[in-house]
Symmetry: C2
Subunit: 79 residues, 2 copies
């Protein structure tokens, strides 16, 4: 199964990379761009064949390694 772990900065945490992208888009002439936030998308190929178990495993991986839960939140999707 494939697990997609999406890791984003929590609301309220300053996102300088997003701010830089927003400013660069303005400089390039794109108007009407409000807040920009940047996160990570991690695609994991898992040997597990049960979707519920795969989701649980991916959530454990996110908690142990992929996300810094102090400033980031994550979501897991199984496809």
């Amino acid at each position: 199964m494939k697990a997609i772990v999406t890791v984003m900065l929590k609301n309220g945490v300053l996102d300088p990379q997003g701010k830089a992208i927003g400013q660069a888009l303005g400089t390039l002439g794109f108007a009407g761009v409000g807040e920009v936030r940047v996160g990570k998308r991690i695609e994991l190929e898992l040997a597990e064949t049960d979707p519920a178990a795969a989701k649980l495993a991916a959530e454990n991986m996110a908690r142990s390694l992929l996300a810094n839960l102090v400033i980031e939140s994550f979501s897991v999707e199984i496809i």
Copy 2:
């Protein structure tokens, strides 16, 4: 409208960050993890209210700034 731009390395392009994550997961005791690939998720708040126009704008932003089309591909989702 909110546009989600997902940028991933193209298939066949070496992903050292993904490889490092795969090895670290193995070291932490997670078994059955195959290929790991890491990409970016960029959330843009757009003033545009027409979904088709917003998608077109986000695609243009991805082509101009967000993705390096030599080694990366992107997809846009409007929510």
